[in-house]
Amino acid sequence: MQRKQILLVDDEHDIREVASMTLELIGGWDVVTASSGTECIRKAQEGRPDAILLDVMMPEMDGPSTLRHLKANQQTCAIPVIFITAKVQAADKRRFMELGVDAIISKPFDPLTLAGEVSAILGWS
């Protein structure tokens, strides 16, 4: 079986590096990273990842607008999206859920449990 591929989107280089390391090491998945919403949309179309971990607060195009683009596109609308965010207020959470996001993981995450959470959400064993 082919290894699952995850597209990790965050404007912070350090977070991309730490997160991709934990997802590769613990999850055993291929991780593709993107540093902006536009890059995310492009790479999602090109690479067809199995899931997208999307940062919410990014310059230029933020998480929610990126998500809208992904959902609007036939090729990417079926890809599950998990928000990774430092915004944890209930009102934000509700707004995000209404956008059609599959789950929300709050920052900072524990690198040792991140992969486990993702696989639980997506139903990957």
């Binding site: 912070e12 350090d14 977070i15 590096e17 730490v18 997160a19 390391m21 934990t22 090491l25 613990i26 607060m57 959902k71 599950p80 999206v81 430092a86 915004k87 944890v88 207020q89 209930a90 009102a91 959470k93 509700r94 859920m97 209404e98 059609g100 996001v101 599959d102 789950a103 920052k107 900072p108 995450f109 524990d110 690198p111 040792l112 959400i121 997506l122 139903g123």
Partner: protein
């Protein structure tokens, strides 16, 4: 002057009358007698003349003069006859008698004192001569004089008698009258009512005068009595008058004083009124009063300026029309919401309209109570909080930004340290690993600190509203325990949960947060091998949660301060145990926001027990079946509303009280309610109007109405279609509950959803279609609700704590009434065909969260519900 005229008059009258009568009688008698005497004398003389004539016929025939003279001399017997003569046929003196000288002619001249009689002498038929006799009248006149003197004597005697008679009469008649007159005069002149008229003789008692006198005396007695009385009365009156005068003068003094007080009072009043007006005018906050009908009774200039209208145009208008934007956008009117609690003022921030826009307003609403203890209306103070909200928004943004900015580097640090410490990317030395461990735990602590500070800040600023739902204490406790289970396992501490289920209303996430905090603390301070016990109980309408540990306990001097920020028992704890020092402060804030209390006790055997209470949503709070139905109660009196509401809550309904019928339409609670109960023994026009408005508004038309009234003749008849159920007072609480149950919308959708926010959004969307919803966050709660009140349809999430979607369906299939319930499986991930079979109940639809919009979900629910109705009708 006393010789009264009546006496003289009487005497004169009597004497004169007698005199005149006697005089007239005597005169008549004398006249008659004289006439009669004259005639008798003449007759007598005629007879004598006739006799003489008869006796002289022969002498004349025989010319015997002597004979004739003899015959005449017989007249001597009559001395009155002074002269007599016999004449021959030729008229010549034949014989004469008396002294009288007949002269040559033989005749005597007539004299006034003498009566002359002539008589012819016949012999056979032949006149032979005539006889003359003259009789003197002196005798008769002497008799007449005698007679007159007798009459005079009689007259005198009569007058004497009359005089005496009058004197007698005076004694008998006049005297009493005079007495009367004198007495009357005395009475009149001297006001001497003691005078009495001499009482009449016994014989006279019954005549008019006697009666008059007796009457007069009686009258005088009566007058005297009255006069006495009058005197007495007058004296009394004088006393009274003097007493009254004294009183009056006192009263007058008082009055003057009172007048002065009143004037001072009026002055003060005017001053106060002026001050009040001044305060109203000067107040920086808007102030308005609303009466029972919802009309504005007063508003100050600041308040009016807020609405952009002059004061005069606002007073008298319905408050809802003034304060609410026409296009909605107000979520619950504070004036109506205040009626839920009439004892406490309520402060809320809501949008109010201003001409051309709307403004956020902070409102404090207080009910006003009149002398009879009834609500007379509301007084509200309010202020424009646009600027404050702007500042708060800025602060929120700042906090949000700071939290993001802090968390971003922390995420990298925590991630990098975590990976390093795990050894996954290469081995590190023991000392280095120890250092890395310190770095990891302190990073975690820093993260918690930031989270707690932000959390506490939001809670304490009151900007986090409690998202209250009905929940089972048992389920909440289990969920909290699950959260700390791993920590407890790591610490070698066992967690024990005791206590049955008890339903109450609270913010589920916050209660779990509190329990998690307390359990986390307990685990942290418990030695390995001991147990932490979590229990719940119902005490005096409150749910009491207790977390008991066998740790080192709390020193008595810390028992009070432990709930303050950064006030741990030991300053080193935060370093050793990794706490932020804010956990208990957050707990206390959450509990206080629910109206509960939190405290700690030291156990005798060591360790401590944390307790907190949350008010139960119903009296007794015991695990009583709740229907999750919301009933809006509006009654004529606050007492009635509260008693009806309490009774319904005891039967498992959630109630909201709306004070005035006029406020029903504008109250958001009503549009969300399942039933409206109106308790008005005598319905008013106001009620009828409000009822019409309620049923006429799109937002509230679907809500059934139960009316409790004493109005038998149904003056609300015109609106019979407005009332779904009518009950007649007196009416038991039980029958009201039955009526409420009967009219409740039968279409109930159970939303089983882990994510409370999503569930709220779904419920809101369905409500606009007149569908009532119940929410369960866990599988177990869903089953409990289903068994209590079978829903018409279930929306089921698959990934659920405790019992997942598959488990819920399996349990429902085992229940006959639930096995055929229509189901919408609303999952995050697509369900495979094989799994779908395990999730089917009645008609089942599978929807994936990210793929369908809220509208599609709602459409699907309504379609399925309509199918159910059609099926039921078909079966019928």
């Amino acid at each position: 002057m006393v010789k009264p005229s009546i006496q003289r008059k009487l005497r004169t009258v009597i004497t004169l009358t007698s005199a005149i009568v006697l005089l007239l009688a005597c005169a008549a008698f004398i006249a008659a007698d004289r006439e009669r005497a004259g005639r008798a004398m003449r007759d007598d003389l005629s007879s004598i003349a006739a006799i003489i004539a008869a006796n002289t016929a022969a002498p004349l025939t025989f010319d015997d003069r002597q004979g004739a003279a003899d015959v005449l001399s017989a007249l001597k017997a009559r001395p009155a006859i002074v002269a007599a003569a016999v004449y021959t046929r030729e008229g010549k003196l034949f014989a004469k008698y008396g002294i009288a000288d007949f002269g040559e002619a033989g005749t005597l001249p007539t004299e006034p004192g003498r009566i002359d009689v002539f008589h012819n002498v016949y012999l056979g038929d032949e006149r032979v001569g005539s006889v003359f006799i003259g009789s003197d009248l002196r005798e008769a006149e002497a008799r007449m004089r005698q007679f007159a003197s007798i009459a005079a004597v009689i007259l005198l005697a009569s007058l004497l008698v009359a005089w005496f008679l009058s004197w007698w009469l005076e004694q008998r008649i006049t005297a009493p009258i005079l007495d009367l007159a004198a007495a009357a005069q005395q009475v009149t002149m001297r006001r001497n009512y003691a005078v009495r008229v001499n009482p009449p003789a016994a014989a006279d008692k019954h005549d008019e005068i006697g009666t008059l006198m007796l009457g007069f005396n009686e009258m005088l007695s009566e007058i005297e009595r009255r006069d006495h009385e009058l005197h007495r009365h007058r004296e009394d009156l004088e006393h009274q008058v003097s007493a009254r005068t004294a009183e009056l003068s006192t009263a007058n003094v008082n009055l003057v004083a009172a007048k002065e007080t009143a004037e001072r009072g009026a002055e003060i009043n005017a001053q106060l009124s002026g001050q009040r007006q001044m305060i109203l005018n000067a107040a920086g906050e808007g102030i308005l009063g609303v009466d029972r009908s919802g009309a504005i009774t007063f508003i100050n200039p600041t308040g009016a300026a807020l609405f952009g209208s002059p004061v005069e145009t606002l007073v008298g208008r319905q408050v809802h029309g003034v304060i609410h934007p026409k296009d909605g956008g107000f979520d619950g009117c504070p004036i109506c919401e205040n009626e839920v609690s009439w004892t406490e003022p309520v402060t809320k921030i809501r949008l109010f309209k201003r001409s051309g826009g709307r403004i956020p307003v902070e409102f404090t609403v207080r009910p006003t109570i009149d002398e009879t203890g009834l609500r007379s209306g509301i007084v509200a103070t309010f202020r424009d909080v646009t600027e404050r909200l702007a500042v708060e928004r800025m602060k929120d943004e700042f906090v949000s930004t700071v939290s993001h900015e802090l968390r971003t580097p922390l995420t990298s640090i925590r991630g990098a340290l975590g990976l390093l410490a795990s050894g996954l990317i290469g081995n590190v030395g023991d000392k280095a690993a120890r250092m890395l461990q310190i770095a990891v735990s302190n990073t975690d602590r820093l993260v918690r600190l930031i989270n707690d500070i932000l959390d506490l800040e939001r809670m304490q600023s009151g900007r986090v509203e409690l998202n209250k739902t009905s929940m089972d204490a048992g389920a909440v406790m289990r969920e909290a325990v699950e959260g700390v289970q791993s920590v407890a396992d790591a610490a070698g501490v066992t967690l024990a949960v005791t206590g049955g289920s008890a339903f109450f209303t609270a913010d589920r996430d916050r209660i779990i947060q509190t329990l998690t905090n307390l359990l986390g603390n307990a685990v942290k301070f418990s030695p390995a091998g001991t147990a932490v016990a979590l229990s719940c109980d119902v005490v005096e309408a409150r749910i009491l949660f207790s977390v008991r540990d066998a740790g080192r306990g709390i020193p008595p001097d810390k028992i009070e301060t432990i709930f303050e920020k950064f006030k741990q028992v030991d300053a080193s704890d935060s370093r050793e145990k990794g706490g932020s020092g804010l956990g208990l402060a957050i707990c206390r804030t959450i509990v206080a926001a629910h109206g509960g209390r939190i405290w700690v006790e030291s156990n005798e055997a060591g360790g401590s027990t944390f307790h907190f209470t949350i008010p139960a949503n119903e009296e007794g709070g015991v695990a009583r079946a709740t229907t999750n139905r919301v009933v809006v109660v509006c009654a004529g009196t606050p007492g009635a509303a509260e008693s009806r509401s309490r009774a319904l809550e005891q039967r498992g309904y959630t109630t909201r009280i709306v004070a005035l019928p006029g406020m029903l339409v504008e109250t958001t609670d009503v549009s969300r309610a399942d039933v409206v109960v109106l308790d008005f023994p005598s319905p008013s026009a106001d009620l009828r109007q409000s009822l019409g408005a309620l049923k006429g508004s799109a937002a509230t038309a679907h809500v059934p109405v139960v009316l409790v009234t004493a109005d038998h003749n149904g003056s609300l008849d015109e609106g019979r279609r407005l009332i779904d159920r009518r009950l007649t007072t007196p009416c038991s609480d039980g029958s009201i509950a039955d009526a409420v149950n009967a009219v409740c919308s039968p279409r109930t959708v159970l939303i089983v959803e882990n994510d409370v926010d999503l569930a709220r959004v779904e419920a809101e969307a369905l409500r606009t279609h007149g569908v009532r919803t119940i929410h369960a966050t866990t599988g177990n709660e869903a089953i409990a609700i289903c068994e209590r009140e079978p829903p018409t349809l279930v929306i089921l999430d698959v990934a659920l704590p405790e019992l997942d979607g598959y488990g819920v369906v399996a349990r429902m299939r085992r229940n006959e009434t639930l096995a055929r319930v229509p189901l919408i499986v609303f999952s995050a991930a697509e369900v495979s065909a094989a799994d779908q079979e395990r999730l089917r109940l009645g008609p089942t639809v599978f929807l994936t969260k990210s793929r369908v919009s809220l509208e599609e979900l709602t459409r699907c629910v309504v379609q399925l519900l309509d199918d159910v109705v059609m099926e039921a009708e078909g079966a019928a």
